[in-house]
């Protein structure tokens, strides 16, 4: 079933296209994606009921009058003059690229501009990792993305410092459609970290659909961090996918530290022989948070390798689904993969599922294993820490933090790690 879409929204494609002076091919694609969105049904998900969720969005004003939310303002200050793009309520407000990066040919710009300055590349690569009609929310994003970011690391360029993409949304946001396209040319190396921060109470039941596409060409090495602080109110969808060519490597490090309602996918398509990918993620649910997360590895390349490590900590009435999926397609000879999912339930009112999935179509794989558990904190660990004089509350915090810290430490950017640490420590002490 499709909800009626108002005329106001139907004009959004034309409005965005005109506002950014976008080329015809992009306009045509947006229109096509809009038609897909209009005709695609709301999917029925196994663990998430979308029937009661509204699909409200827009209008999207050209400029935002809202101030950067306080916590993100701190992060902004900590970043100093490091490479960063700031997006506020769907508008790119600032792009800062150190001269040293420009000199090496690194491109960091808003995606609307990139569609004009690098039209062939953007036309060819946009939608390569996440198809415009993959599902209803990716179609919505393809039709209405704005405030997008484009990052290109030229061939052979190896960056030491991370590139930051900081999305913030105030209570003025009317649904978000952020889109990020990261292209790592052969033998390049870089770290990119995205932060989504939302503050205030959203006025309506808006829909938020984020798409991140990562193209890792031959031998490129990327570490992609994504930290979301999705607030309650809107329905958040996210689709983040990397496509890996021969010997490419992509490490995902992601986590959600909000109390929002979200459904999403983090996936690597290991097309190239010898490609490798690690996805490590955490969820830190509280309130009435709902997180339906799938981390997925699609193996097609020979000798491709992957690991998935998911860790959840759930409190209060949080409800999370941690799905890890590995698919060994026919031809993925000698490929290997492991999954580890662990969910800690701190309150009896929280709910969690850890669902490992292995799909193996190739007979000759080197390893394919999974381990999943949902449980309480191990009382023998608490006893051990307490036996050295540490009070129970501190002991429990240390144990939880012990699970989260290795993932937080794997995030690119000291400033982002510090910010996440601060948020988590505050939440843990509550």
């Amino acid at each position: 079933m499709t909800e009626p879409i108002t005329n106001v929204n139907a004009n959004l494609v034309e409005e965005l296209t005109a506002r950014h002076g976008e080329p015809d091919w992009l306009k045509a694609r947006r229109q096509q994606a809009w038609r897909s969105f209009e005709t695609m049904p709301v999917p029925r998900l196994e663990k998430t009921d979308l029937r009661g969720r509204a699909w409200d969005f827009g209008p999207f004003p050209a400029a935002t009058g809202a101030a950067v939310p306080q916590p993100l303002a701190q992060l902004e200050a900590a970043l100093g003059d490091q490479a960063a793009v700031f997006i506020q309520d769907g508008t790119v407000t600032r792009v800062q690229v150190p001269e040293a990066l420009r000199a090496r040919g690194v491109v960091v710009m808003d995606l609307h501009s990139a569609a004009k300055t690098e039209p062939e590349r953007v036309q060819q690569l946009l939608g390569r990792a996440v198809a415009d009609d993959e599902n209803r929310w990716s179609a919505l994003n393809a039709a209405l993305w704005h405030g997008g970011v484009y990052v290109r690391i030229p061939r052979g360029v190896q960056l030491e410092d991370p590139i930051h993409i900081i999305h913030s949304e105030s209570e003025q946001a009317r649904g978000g459609m952020p889109r990020v396209l990261i292209v790592a040319e052969p033998l390049s190396r870089a770290e990119v970290v995205e932060v989504y921060g939302e503050t205030g109470q959203a006025a309506g039941s808006y829909v938020h659909s984020a798409v991140t596409e990562v193209i890792a060409e031959d031998g490129a090495q990327l570490r992609i961090g994504v930290v979301t602080q999705y607030r309650k109110g809107p329905t958040h969808f996210f689709t983040r996918r990397a496509v890996l060519a021969k010997d490419a490597s992509v490490d995902w490090v992601f986590g959600d530290i909000g109390d929002g309602f979200s459904v999403g996918l983090v996936e690597s398509r290991l097309d190239g022989d010898g490609s490798r990918s690690v996805a490590q993620g955490f969820g830190f649910g509280y309130g009435r948070q709902h997180l339906d997360l799938t981390a997925s590895m699609q193996h097609r390349g020979r000798f491709s390798e992957s690991d998935i490590r998911l860790f959840g900590v759930l409190r209060q009435r949080a409800n999370s689904v941690f799905r890890s999926s590995t698919h060994m397609h026919r031809g993925a000879v000698a490929a290997g993969s492991e999954q580890h999912d662990r969910v800690l339930m701190l309150d009896a009112t929280a709910r969690a599922d850890a669902i490992p999935m292995l799909l193996i179509d190739e007979n000759d794989v080197s390893r394919c294993a999974h381990a999943a558990s949902v449980g309480k904190i191990d009382p023998t660990q608490v006893y051990y820490l307490m036996s050295r004089g540490i009070p129970e509350k501190t002991a429990v915090q240390m144990i939880i933090w012990g699970y989260l810290q290795p993932i937080v430490d794997a995030l690119p950017s000291q400033a982002v790690r510090d910010w996440v640490t601060q948020v988590l420590e505050r939440k843990l002490a509550e």
């Binding site: 307490m386 036996s387 050295r388 004089g389 144990i399 290795p406």
Partner: protein, 261 residues
């Protein structure tokens, strides 16, 4: 601080519905080393865990006081802060928590708010103690007991003991699984902590450990209580004649707990 005084009177401990310690009496003062020996299954480790307050061990009868204070009324962390320490036979592994962070948090919990040890001083002290125990400096940053070998875990327990400087230290089969070199290092660590302000309760199955840590008193546990006490010569006698000799002398057929129940 005055010398510690631990008194255990008529202690009864139940684990999973079964009484394992059955009326045990023991008194330890600062400067003394007491060894509790006995065959497997006689309640030695249960005694240690119950004194520390392991949640699975229920004390059903008896009294334990440290300097007149009721130990059994204290939570596990309060016992530790009062000066009790248990070097565990099977310490838990805690991934993601570094050894140094753990020990510093413990030390500061014991020292109390406003009296925290300066970070640099702590690390100097930790590295010095690790050197004495022949531990690689990398153990400071490794996750607590994760992937440690049996011997490394034991050394790590002694490291904690020497950092926390407890008033009553209980060592539960600290010798099990150690080769002779490791045993010597661990024993040196214990001996260096001997002091009039500290008492030791050393639980062991074998007399071997007691060649390196010479006890003042030796107690033999059978059927959940102390059946014989003596000085260090009792341990030597047991080594020479075996537990069967003592069983015969005391008229005990099955020394394990529950045989007569």
């Amino acid at each position: 601080m005055a010398a510690p005084h631990l008194v255990i009177e008529d202690l009864h401990v139940v684990v999973e519905g079964k009484e394992i310690v059955r009326g045990l009496n023991l008194e330890i003062r600062g400067g003394e080393i007491h060894a509790v020996m006995g065959p497997n299954g006689t309640g030695k480790s249960t005694l240690a865990s119950a004194l520390m307050g392991h949640p699975k061990y229920e004390v059903t009868q008896g009294r334990v006081t440290l300097d007149g204070q009721d130990v059994l009324a204290m939570s596990v962390d309060e016992r530790a802060r009062a000066g009790l320490f248990l070097a565990m036979q099977y310490p838990a592994e805690v991934p993601g928590v570094s050894n140094a962070n753990f020990i510093r948090t413990a030390l500061n919990s014991i020292r109390g708010e406003g009296n925290e040890i300066p970070v640099m001083k702590f690390h100097r002290m930790l590295q010095e103690k690790m050197r004495q125990l022949n531990m690689d400096p990398s153990f400071a940053e490794r996750y607590l007991n994760e992937g440690f070998s049996g011997g490394e875990k034991k050394r790590n327990e002694i490291l904690q003991m020497s950092m926390l400087e407890p008033r009553i230290a209980i060592l539960d089969e600290i010798d099990s699984g150690l080769d002779i070199d490791a045993l010597r290092i661990v024993a040196d660590g214990v001996n260096s902590l001997r002091s009039p302000e500290r008492g030791f309760l050393i639980i062991t199955h074998y007399q071997r450990l007691l060649q390196y840590i010479v006890p003042d008193y030796v107690h033999v546990m059978m059927q959940g209580r102390i059946v014989k006490s003596g000085d260090k010569t009792l341990a030597e006698e047991l080594e020479a004649k075996g537990y069967d000799w003592l069983k015969k002398e005391l008229g005990i057929e099955d020394e394990t707990v529950g045989a007569q129940a």
